[in-house]
Symmetry: C3
Amino acid sequence: MKSQTDYVWFEVPSRRGFVNITDTVEGLVKKSGVQEGLCLVNAMHITSAVFINDNEDGLLHDFDHWLEKLAPHEPVSQYHHNRTGEDNADAHLKRQVMGREVVVAITKGKLDFGPWEQIFYGEFDGRRRKRALVKIIGE
Amino acid sequence: MKSQTDYVWFEVPSRRGFVNITDTVEGLVKKSGVQEGLCLVNAMHITSAVFINDNEDGLLHDFDHWLEKLAPHEPVSQYHHNRTGEDNADAHLKRQVMGREVVVAITKGKLDFGPWEQIFYGEFDGRRRKRALVKIIGE
Amino acid sequence: MKSQTDYVWFEVPSRRGFVNITDTVEGLVKKSGVQEGLCLVNAMHITSAVFINDNEDGLLHDFDHWLEKLAPHEPVSQYHHNRTGEDNADAHLKRQVMGREVVVAITKGKLDFGPWEQIFYGEFDGRRRKRALVKIIGE
């Protein structure tokens, strides 16, 4: 069994944003030489998400708007977590909806994707350096 | 390490619906001969989900009703994504709540399930052929 | 390839509650001797969740309050599932938001975690014995 571990860094300049990391992950799969296996991609921070959906700007706008309805940032005083001095309780909630991680099959040396699947890093409390982990195992 | 890759096809005749795929996945685990390992089951489309919950018709009705409240289909004009000519933005959102994938342990040659766990394919934009992937790795 | 399977039992004394299981899972990783691999942790019941977020009491309160808004327990008659004699339909819904499972990378013999990641068992229909599964594969 082969394994490979990489950390991918982000610094999203606004509070919230989405970064398409499909090519980065595909490159790491190629580097690993794994032909058949699994690729785990997860946010290492609890106010960020990794998810798979469509690379379409209108949809990314819809996600942002929808998450803000489900778990609004303001008023920040509505969340007990923010009594600790933070203002990011909503980010912890939003990330649960979108998910911490994805696990993708590797088949014949490539991410085994349907026609529109793309991997995104979802930031809900940005403006600082944060990481995702890409762990590949297989043969 | 053994690995096995299968694609399971669906054509749900309505916009939304749930299909119990537990027996299909269990059959693929048996075919693989893997005794100890992991089984990934994921939708290959970004308007579908794979999730584990209860095989009870009332609950499946509740899921549908609840998702329609969290991310309503209409008015379709509320979503920027639908300006592309699509009408399925809500399906992209619903699938995030339910999840793209499940990873199930294989123990002694079987899906290692609690008493009520069943695997479902959740369709939110049906009436066409779509796929799920079943990837098994282990020994 | 090594593999290890363990079942962790819970009996949360109230209907809902969160249990930090990070040390338990870390101990099982150590016991396995796996240096590089994957660790799956999943609820074996369909009214419970396993998720990764912050070990901060205010946030756990916020999760509980927020989930109760997204999928209220009462009136129990609002859910078709409860016509079966159950009163836990909301628990099935809440668990979809929080997630059934997490997959964590094992690197150099440890859970490969960011600075604040902690694993929780989330109970939404407690007051009885329930299990989570910890499956480790790797080398």
